[in-house]
């Protein structure tokens, strides 16, 4: 069904399609609309979920954990401070191998209070064992939320999935949305370790080093196995509904001499920059990274690489730039841009490519191009 929706509404629409048994969430700008829309769907009866209006994000994730371990589908949404506030519990959800799905509307972290897009919130969660995917359009937010449940629940994965969408620049913009009937795209959830009073077991109690170590490795093994499951799921989705995704969205990369790598809405802006540069005769391409965890093997061999980070690891560098540099065993031009919702146009992105200085780091709006 065709409609017009914001990124937030698209996520809520996907949740309505999925009908999780339990949803627990706490409002925070710019995610609020997701919570409100879900509450509305629940009160109108379109969404049959039990909606728990918890008193905090820590409790939102704890409630999802408590519900999920009984073997039912759960969902929550948050942003920024809310995500960091639940950090203890995001670790717990992954460690407990629970397929919780969460939408995170990317926003900067205070002080001072800044409500606009930045990826620092989700980046601080990257080592928790959650799968992380970053979307760039309203349709992609919807489609990816649907796929997230299937990937998380696959018994070769059983890890939580975080769907990231940029605050305001995606959460609040209107674009066309085509909703679908998932049908048997999403099989019934089966949680092998679900709580069963007829077969009593202890969960998450004292664990010695040897067993703990093994459990950590199990997470990593599933993370690696998830690559195949993501691929299968995205292919099946494309077959059924005609929209194709991947670990990256590559735009004019094949013959490119230089490729700019970014995530989220900036990745769409970059495509416009590439069109412009191509008209100037610059052989440039754009690679928009969708899945940050598991981190895919990027096909960048023989290209000059420019990376936009909408995040920063103080005392180290842009997280994406450093990751790509390590994986590709080559220097990149690291651009730090868009923090706190800083406006970055396609013209600016074209300039990052034109004026690249491989091996250097450039803070857009702070440093001058030379």
């Amino acid at each position: 069904m065709k409609k017009i929706a914001t990124g937030n509404k698209a996520v809520a629409e996907a949740v309505k399609q999925i009908q999780p048994a339990v949803i627990a969430a706490y409002p925070i700008t710019p995610q609020t609309e997701i919570v409100e829309q879900i509450a509305e769907f629940v009160s109108s009866g379109e969404l049959k979920s039990r909606y728990i209006p918890v008193e905090s994000e820590h409790s939102a994730m704890a409630a999802c954990i408590g519900a999920s371990i009984t073997g039912v589908r759960t969902f929550t949404a948050t942003s920024s401070h809310g995500l960091l506030y639940m950090h203890e519990m995001t670790n717990w959800a992954a460690g407990a191998r629970l397929p919780v799905v969460m939408a995170n509307v990317n926003r900067s972290i205070g002080p001072g209070w800044n409500i606009w897009a930045e990826h620092t919130d989700a980046m601080q969660e990257r080592d928790t064992g959650w799968l992380q995917v970053y979307v760039s359009t309203v349709q992609e937010a919807y489609d990816t939320t649907l796929m997230a449940f299937r990937i998380a629940e696959h018994n070769d994965v059983l890890l939580p999935v975080m769907v990231n969408l940029d605050g305001f620049s995606l959460s609040h913009i209107m674009q066309p949305l085509d909703t679908v009937e998932t049908g048997d795209f999403l099989p019934p959830m089966y949680l092998p370790h679900a709580i069963d009073p007829k077969n009593p077991a202890g969960y998450g109690g004292l664990t010695g080093p040897e067993q703990h170590f093994k459990f950590r490795w199990d997470i990593e093994r599933s993370m690696r196995d998830s690559v195949k499951i993501i691929d299968e799921t995205e292919k099946d989705f494309a077959n059924r509904f005609g929209r194709k995704y991947g670990f990256t969205e590559d735009y004019q990369c094949d013959d490119a001499d230089v490729v700019i790598v970014s995530m989220g809405t900036l990745g769409k802006e970059a495509e416009v920059a590439i069109d412009m540069l191509r008209r100037e005769g610059v052989r440039a391409g754009s690679m928009r990274l969708r899945w940050l965890r598991p981190f895919p093997k990027l096909n960048l061999k023989g290209k000059e690489i420019v990376v936009i980070d909408r995040d920063y690891s103080f005392g180290f560098g842009g997280v994406l730039a450093k990751s790509i540099q390590a994986q590709q065993k080559t220097d990149v031009f690291s651009v730090i841009a868009g923090l706190g919702g800083q406006e970055v146009t396609y013209e600016d992105i074209a300039d990052f490519i034109r004026k690249r200085r491989i091996g250097e780091e450039f803070w857009f709006g702070v440093n001058d191009h030379v």
Binding site: A21, A24, V54, A62, T70
Partner: protein
């Protein structure tokens, strides 16, 4: 000496054991003693939600467990929130399984108070039991909001200056259908209160006094004796509040009329050793005030 009447009641308590004999609790531990009766009352269709506390330790080390009931261990602050998700999930799928939080005083009065308050305010269908050993036992007996004034802990080496937080008043302000106090030293009473609590829909609360030999510094055979002295001195009052209506237990009623001197309760406990006269008097006055307050509330109705 146990009375014949008491023996009668014990006869009704099921033989099934859910707390097996292999716990790693200290000798004389009231936490495990209370839990034994809680689970006998709740029966097998129960999930226990346990935040970080002594109860997370006494289960034993994975892959073993000393509890013959599903136990979901969760982060320190999150027990009530986790239970509210679990209870909603069970109810959504038509299951009547009891969801019981079994948390320490730290996980209840201090770090867990927010999630607990939220779960009560939302009318969560669960039973929340706080076993109160009046300090952080798991980490080696630091003060908690439940530590009484004058008690020495590892973070109040000369005795706690502040008074014990009145968590029961805070719970009462949430108007749960059922709330009660109990003591590990009165297992029959605890057993009945748990059974009763589980008949209510919505949140119920039981606050169990749980004397702890290493923490309170008394010898292990005195656990029950000290628990009884807490009640007989009026320091701990056994009661239940059903839809706001207070009923004080007969044991406590008798004790409130003719309490044994407070010294008798404090003296065997090393944690009160050397308590100064002023602190002692403040504690005593607090006790008298509390007796008056509860008597007045009961008389009012």
């Amino acid at each position: 000496m146990i009375s014949l009447q008491e023996l009668d009641t014990i006869g009704e308590i099921p033989q099934e054991e859910y707390v097996l004999k292999c716990t790693s609790a200290c000798a004389g531990c009231s936490d495990s003693l209370a839990l034994r009766y809680v689970l006998k009352a709740a029966g097998p269709d129960t999930v226990l939600v346990v935040p970080a506390c002594c109860t997370s330790v006494i289960q034993g080390i994975y892959p073993n467990t000393a509890f013959n009931i599903p136990v979901y261990n969760i982060a320190f602050a999150a027990a009530a929130a986790c239970a509210s998700g679990m209870s909603n999930a069970f109810r959504a799928t038509g299951k009547k399984t009891n969801v019981i939080v079994y948390a320490g005083d730290g996980g209840t009065l201090d770090i867990g108070i927010q999630s607990m308050s939220g779960a009560f305010e939302r009318g969560t269908d669960f039973l929340y039991i706080c076993y109160d050993n009046e300090a952080y036992g798991n980490t080696g007996m630091q003060r908690s909001g439940a530590t009484p004034m004058g008690a020495r802990t590892t973070t109040t080496p000369t005795g706690k200056i502040d008074a014990k937080k009145d968590i029961d008043a805070i719970i009462a302000a949430h108007n749960p259908p059922y709330m009660a106090t109990a003591a590990a030293a009165y297992p029959q009473d605890l057993f009945k209160k748990v059974q009763k609590a589980l008949t209510f829909r919505g949140p119920s609360f039981i606050h169990v006094l749980a004397p702890c030999p290493p923490g309170w510094r008394f010898s292990t055979e005195k656990t029950v004796e000290i628990g009884k002295l807490a009640v007989k001195s009026g320091m701990w009052i056994l009661y239940e509040r059903e839809f706001g209506k207070l009923t004080i237990n007969p044991q406590s009623k008798a004790a409130m009329k003719r309490p044994v001197p407070l010294e008798e309760y404090l003296a065997p406990q090393g944690r009160f050793k050397g308590i100064d006269a002023k602190t002692f008097e403040t504690l005593r006055q607090h006790l008298v005030k509390n007796i008056k307050k509860l008597s007045a509330e009961e008389a009012e109705e």
